[in-house]
């Protein structure tokens, strides 16, 4: 397969190797782990910013990494339609870099939350969700302290179809009880207007192999399959 994906490593990234493992060993895609200062967009068809605590989350989660030269490279990919994906801390970085709308605030419980949740797919036309059905329920874990999505204009996101995933119950109902962190509108993932850049708090790389899934699901693969499908169609 010709698809080449970069997974960036910032000082403090800690889901980078898991993401590389799933892409290489489960999805069988050529994947490189790239130190953020060495990243060159010309070598890749897509880039993933993994979870972790880039630069120790100092000042605010994601803000220092948002000034990395890797973000300038990723901006070139963003503009020519290649996938730019942020998972968890990667999502925080992409909002701070203003690739994506909104911001991620401290969970309303003030606690770091690590548990399996359900998402409902709201937009299945994006680079990360084209292998899913609208309304499909996704079984996936979250692990974050700052995941409370906030925006001052949720209406605009809804009108532009930029809300990709929401936290939901097992039937896909978006309820207060299924909102793990106080996110506005239960929002778990959003995209840019062009739908080639997505950030989400849940971890697809932790939900791609049955052996580590409490229910034996592998819904995380759908995210990576979507990215690969999108890239393959472009090549």
């Amino acid at each position: 397969m010709k698809v080449r994906i970069a997974v960036l490593m910032f000082p403090g990234s800690n889901c980078d190797l898991d993401t590389v493992h799933v892409l290489k060993e489960v999805m069988k895609v050529k994947t490189d782990l790239v130190w953020h200062n060495h990243f060159k967009e010309r070598d890749y068809d897509g880039v993933i910013l993994p979870g972790g605590f880039a630069f120790g989350d100092y000042l605010r989660a994601g803000i220092i990494a948002a000034h990395s030269p890797a973000i300038d490279e990723a901006r070139i990919m963003l503009k020519d339609g290649r996938p730019v994906i942020g998972i968890c801390n990667g999502f925080q970085i992409l909002t701070e870099a203003q690739f994506l709308p909104g911001a991620l605030l401290q969970n309303d419980s003030l606690k770091f939350i690590c548990k399996w949740v359900n998402l409902v797919v709201e937009n299945n036309k994006t680079v990360l969700s084209n292998k899913m059905k609208k309304g499909e329920v996704i079984d996936i874990p979250i692990a974050h302290g700052e995941g409370r999505f906030f925006t001052d204009d949720i209406k605009e996101l809804e009108e532009n179809n930029q809300i990709v995933f929401r936290y939901a119950d097992e039937e896909g109902n978006v309820t207060d009880a299924s909102n793990p962190n106080g996110s506005l509108g239960n929002i778990a993932g959003v995209c840019n207007l062009e739908q080639n850049c997505i950030g989400l708090m849940p971890h697809p790389e932790r939900a791609s192999e049955a052996i580590i899934s409490p229910k034996g699901t592998t819904h995380g693969r759908l995210f990576f399959e979507s990215v690969i499908e999108y890239i393959t169609k472009r090549l």
Partner: protein, 89 residues
């Protein structure tokens, strides 16, 4: 004009529309429980103290405010920045 050293103190706090669970917890679980009923609101935030060289107080304030905007020291989506104090050393 010669440059002097200034200290500028700034605070970053969540906008009123963005909930502040740290302050809510301090108020609900400490202040209110200990009988300080006269306290009606608490907001938490971050505090930065910045030393710099500038020609005047106004210039010092302008440099720091522009820097905070340029580098997104505060996130304009969720936070307000307030210059608390400017002091010439």
């Amino acid at each position: 004009m010669d440059e002097s050293e200034f200290i500028i103190e700034v605070s970053l706090e969540n906008k009123p529309a963005a909930r502040d669970p740290v302050a809510e917890t301090i108020k609900r679980d400490l202040i209110a429980k200990k009988g300080y009923d006269m306290i009606s609101n608490v907001r938490s935030g971050q505090y930065l103290r910045i030393n710099l060289l500038a020609k005047s107080e106004n210039e010092a304030k302008e440099i720091v405010t522009n820097m905070c905007n340029d580098l997104r020291i505060f996130n304009p989506v969720t936070q307000n920045l307030t210059v608390l104090n400017v002091k010439k050393l």
